[in-house]
């Protein structure tokens, strides 16, 4: 069953439930709850972004979500958590004059105007104090066709933007939001305001080595978990060395932090923007560049001071073996336009060394790499989040269904049994004179109370069409949820496990993406009995549950082997 199937089937079950509920006496009171669950199913997922202030967050966000955000971004404050969501009918209170919802720490909500936002600008003590009383700000955008319809976006103050006299304000606010999914294991059905995916952004600095990136990520990702966190190394265009080795560098960081970050993706938001704004000019640019002799091109690309050189001697030497004339400084200026030098260099290199614009574009998009981030968020985090959410919804639905089974059907039967007793009374009072009214009383009661056979039939339909499919679907997705929860537990208690046990469990529980169980086939029987005997010795029930799960996984593996 694919992930989309699961979501659709959940939707189907909710529909079936409301069909039945409106049919059965005494069930209609549960219809609003079903409606609530249905809304929950289609609520957007939550994406949060954290990182250092100068990591290029806003340009990354704009690249990821489109330009809409930038406009509201002017209202944005640095001391609060800002939530961006698609406006829906449910947002009563929204007006153009007061477009921002302020959610205070005590849960109180007010709608405010731009002057209130202005009062939150700045990093002085008074502002921070005010901001401290605020849980978060919500900005509403009409983004019917955009990404926001699918996701709610949470922007957090930068992790190093600590300001104010107590110095703690910022960190405190950020920490609060980044506690994220730790509550997941407690299985509280709390509101879905915790992030389904988190992006930790680190901006590349010219000349930095991989060790430095690693330190930067380590400092940024405290408390993160590979279950929902993704690293993004931005501004990879900043130096040429990094640009050519960006995938390698990202992989190094990802491997070193593999239980904190699911993966690390190198991106260039600037490149993304440059492509969007200037790609029409690329054929002309390529033609112009290709006229340069290779030696001259290489020298131009060394640095902007070389590219903009006005020294005629230099230019002559560069072009001495060529029948071309060096391009004039004006020409060079206009060809570069107003984009950043590092971006221009990367674009020029690709265009110069590629046969045609198309193949250059492939490489340029690979540098921008925004699509990879989008895809990972969606495939890895959101789909799973949706499934886990389906599981919660199904559990709630099951509770309602069982309550109906235990109370509504029992009541129907009990009432009917009462009626059987009344019937003899009705016939007792019956004479020729009262026959008509006795008949009509019987008809009336029969209409109100279904017969025992009808109740039996209704109940068996209820079981067949609702309860059994519900349980089947739940079983289907319970595994995914269970794995997710066990992984959260494992990570929160990682210091309890030996290095080897931890490694093995991460692999068994599928933390590193697609389960690489093939390598474990050889000694599956041995590993199973290891975990089997380990499970009973473990002191903590949570550890036990993990070990027992490992036993089950190996059992499946052994079954596969026998096939």
């Amino acid at each position: 069953m694919t992930k989309d199937d699961i979501i659709n089937k959940t939707q189907d079950l909710l529909n079936t439930a409301s069909d039945y509920f409106s049919k059965i006496n005494g069930c209609t009171q549960y219809l609003p709850e079903i409606e609530k669950l249905r809304r929950k199913l289609w609520q957007p997922c939550v994406l949060a972004v954290g990182g250092k202030v100068k990591a290029g967050k806003s340009s990354f966000i704009n690249a990821l979500l489109g330009k809409q955000l930038a406009k509201v971004g002017e209202l944005e404050t640095t001391a609060t958590i800002n939530v961006f969501r698609h406006i829906s009918f449910a947002d009563v209170g929204y007006t153009e004059e007061k477009p921002v919802k302020v959610v205070w720490n005590n849960g109180f909500e007010t709608w405010e105007d731009t002057s209130f936002m202005d009062s939150l600008q700045g990093n002085d003590d008074a502002t921070l104090k005010k901001a401290e009383g605020i849980s978060h700000l919500e900005f509403f955008l009409d983004d019917e066709k955009g990404l926001l319809k699918e996701l709610t976006f949470v922007d957090t103050p930068g992790t190093d933007a600590v300001v104010g006299s107590d110095g703690q304000a910022h960190q405190h606010v950020t920490d609060r939001f980044f506690r994220l999914r730790q509550k997941h294991s407690e299985e509280t059905n709390n509101k879905m305001d915790e992030a389904d995916a988190v992006i930790y952004l680190v901006g590349a600095v010219a000349g930095a080595n991989q060790k430095q990136f690693l330190t930067d990520f380590q400092n940024t990702t405290a408390g993160a978990s590979a279950l929902n966190a993704l690293g993004v190394l931005s501004k990879v265009d900043i130096d040429e060395n990094l640009l050519s080795r960006r995938h390698e560098q990202a992989e190094y960081v990802a491997n070193s932090l593999k239980d904190v970050l699911y993966t690390v993706i190198p991106i260039s938001a600037g490149m993304n923007e440059a492509i969007a704004n200037n790609k029409v000019r690329y054929p002309a640019l390529q033609q112009w560049l290709k006229k340069m002799p290779k030696a001259a091109f290489d020298i131009f690309m060394r640095a902007d001071s070389y590219y903009f050189t006005e020294n005629a001697n230099y230019l002559n030497v560069m072009y001495q073996d060529s029948d071309q004339l060096p391009p004039s400084i004006e020409e060079r200026r206009s060809m570069k336009g107003d984009i950043q030098w590092s971006l221009f260099r990367a674009i020029s290199r690709e265009l110069y060394y590629s046969d045609d614009v198309e193949s250059a574009m492939v490489n340029l998009y690979d540098i921008a790499n925004i699509e990879a981030v989008r895809k990972t968020i969606n495939d890895r985090f959101f789909k799973r989040s949706k499934i886990i959410r389906c599981n919660r919804i199904l559990k709630d639905l099951q509770k309602i269904v069982l309550r109906i089974k235990r109370s509504v059907f029992v009541e129907l039967r009990s009432n009917r049994a009462d009626y059987e007793a009344w019937r003899s009374i009705i016939s007792m009072g019956e004479s020729d004179f009262t026959k008509n009214s006795a008949d009509s009383l019987r008809r009336f009661i029969n209409l109100q109370l279904p017969s025992l056979d009808a109740i039996d039939k209704l109940e068996s339909e209820f079981l067949e069409h609702l309860i059994l499919p519900l349980e089947e679907l739940q079983q289907e997705i319970d595994g995914i949820d269970r794995e997710f929860q066990l992984l959260s537990t494992l990570q929160s208690r990682r210091n309890m496990w030996s290095e080897n046990d931890y490694e093995e469990l991460c692999q068994v529980l599928g933390l590193y993406g697609i389960r690489e169980m093939h390598s474990m086939y050889d000694d599956a029987v041995e590993r199973q009995s290891y975990w089997q005997s380990k499970a009973v010795r473990l002191r903590d029930r949570r550890d036990q549950a993990i070990a027992e799960y490992a036993v089950d996984c190996y059992e499946e593996l052994i079954k596969d082997l026998k096939r």
Partner: protein
């Protein structure tokens, strides 16, 4: 035709039958070294030969001479199948249904040895938690059919309903309308409310609450932790070289201590233990004089959890204005004195709390009562009778005659 009632438990099973001599349901006592009503729900699959169930592997593990012997057995033993069961699940090639059927079969065989059934057992009543899904119930039915009971010969019954039925019927209490069942076992905790409606049917109108990982075993661990702390203070050592794991023989000492404290009614006790040898440390001697308040404080985290769940059920009962006539304590861990005391505080009335004589077997015995009739009161619920004063036809469910207004002596 004979019926057996089986309480299929996570750690232990118990069973009941209708004694043909008395005509009343009784718990079955199995003739082992010590007379007991319980059979461990564990199955051992030796590398060669047939599966072994119950006390044989249980005693092997308890009495294993060395930890490596114990390890060797445990690698092939499945425990707590009730908690672990999954649809299509298996353990070392044996399906979960098969494992359950092996346990049921063993219980029935042992019951036949212990009791003089006057005819072959051809019906079984199995109890299960209220929260069991349909597929779990179906697995129980499938397991029973592997033992030879076709599905029309298997009846399933919710555990709290069974316990309430057993209490009410064995004490012949026909005017009870509501029972709170507090079931605190070795591994799990469940609390449920059973209502008896005016037809004498037993219903579960409130969502039951439970904690699948909260039981006596967790209290043993708390005591173990305390010993661990003391060993560290006095000798600078731990009980086990790997702090993530327990020393099983010592844990089993802790269980004994807990039982002694419960029996002793919570009085001050002195425990004198020899610590297991670990690298660099020999058999040190450690004494613990445990006071009641200290003990209560140590175990309160677990008791608290049961009280929180109970409070939720109580609130729901009060919200619906349903009556509570009795609070039944069942399951071995409900013997802990603190349980009764804390529950009394919660209810504001200790006198409601009853511990049925057979704390471990109330559920099993209820299963046999259920086989004899599933309602409280006598016979069918809506019999027609005549008013003894005016001779007109009325129902047995009416306390007063609706014609002459006089009391109906045939009211049930």
């Amino acid at each position: 035709m004979s019926v057996i009632g089986i309480d299929f438990g996570t750690t232990f099973c118990s069973a009941s039958w209708v004694n043909p001599k008395t005509g009343f349901p009784e718990a079955i006592t199995f003739p082992y070294a010590v007379d007991t009503c319980k059979i461990p729900s564990i199955v051992f699959f030796p590398p060669q030969g047939e599966a072994v169930v119950g006390y044989a592997p249980y005693m092997q593990i308890e009495n294993a001479a060395t930890s490596s012997d114990r390890e060797a057995i445990k690698r092939h033993v499945i425990t707590s199948i009730k908690r672990k069961m999954r649809r299509g699940g298996s353990f070392q090639g044996h399906s979960h249904v098969e494992i359950i059927s092996l346990i049921l079969k063993h219980v029935i065989e042992e019951a036949q040895k212990a009791c003089q059934f006057d005819s072959p057992i051809d019906k079984v009543v199995l109890t299960h938690p209220v929260v069991f899904d349909e597929w779990q119930k179906n697995m129980l039915i499938d397991a029973a059919s592997l033992v030879g009971f076709s599905s029309d010969k298997v009846t399933l019954l919710e555990e709290p309903v069974s316990a309430a039925l057993s209490y009410i019927k064995s004490n012949q209490l026909n005017d009870i309308k509501g029972v709170l069942v507090y079931d605190f076992g070795g591994g799990t905790f469940d609390v449920a409310y059973v209502q008896i409606d005016h037809h004498g049917k037993l219903l579960l109108p409130i969502d039951p609450q439970g904690d699948p990982v909260c039981g006596g075993n967790d209290i043993d661990i708390l005591l173990y932790d305390q010993w661990d702390k003391m060993a560290n203070q006095k000798y600078g050592r731990q009980l086990n070289s790997n702090p993530q794991e327990v020393d099983e023989p010592f844990l089993s000492r802790c269980r004994k201590q807990k039982e002694l404290i419960s029996v002793g009614g919570g009085q001050r006790q002195r425990f004198s233990e020899i610590l297991p040898p670990i690298n660099g440390h020999g058999f040190e001697h450690l004494v613990w004089d445990i006071r009641e308040d200290e003990y209560n404080q140590i175990i309160s985290p677990i008791i608290d959890r049961t009280m929180t769940k109970t409070q939720i059920v109580l609130d729901a009962i009060r919200g619906k204005k349903l009556p509570i006539d009795v609070v039944l304590l069942i399951g071995g861990s409900s013997r802990i004195p603190q349980v009764k005391q804390r529950l009394g505080e919660l209810l504001g009335n200790v006198s409601l709390i009853k511990t049925p004589g057979l704390i471990d077997t109330a559920v099993a015995v209820g299963a046999s009562y259920y086989a004899m009739g599933d309602t409280i009161g006598i016979g069918s619920s809506s019999q027609v009778c005549s008013c003894v004063y005016c001779d007109r036809e009325i129902c047995t469910t009416h306390r007063f005659c609706m014609y002459c207004g006089k009391e109906n002596p045939l009211f049930k």
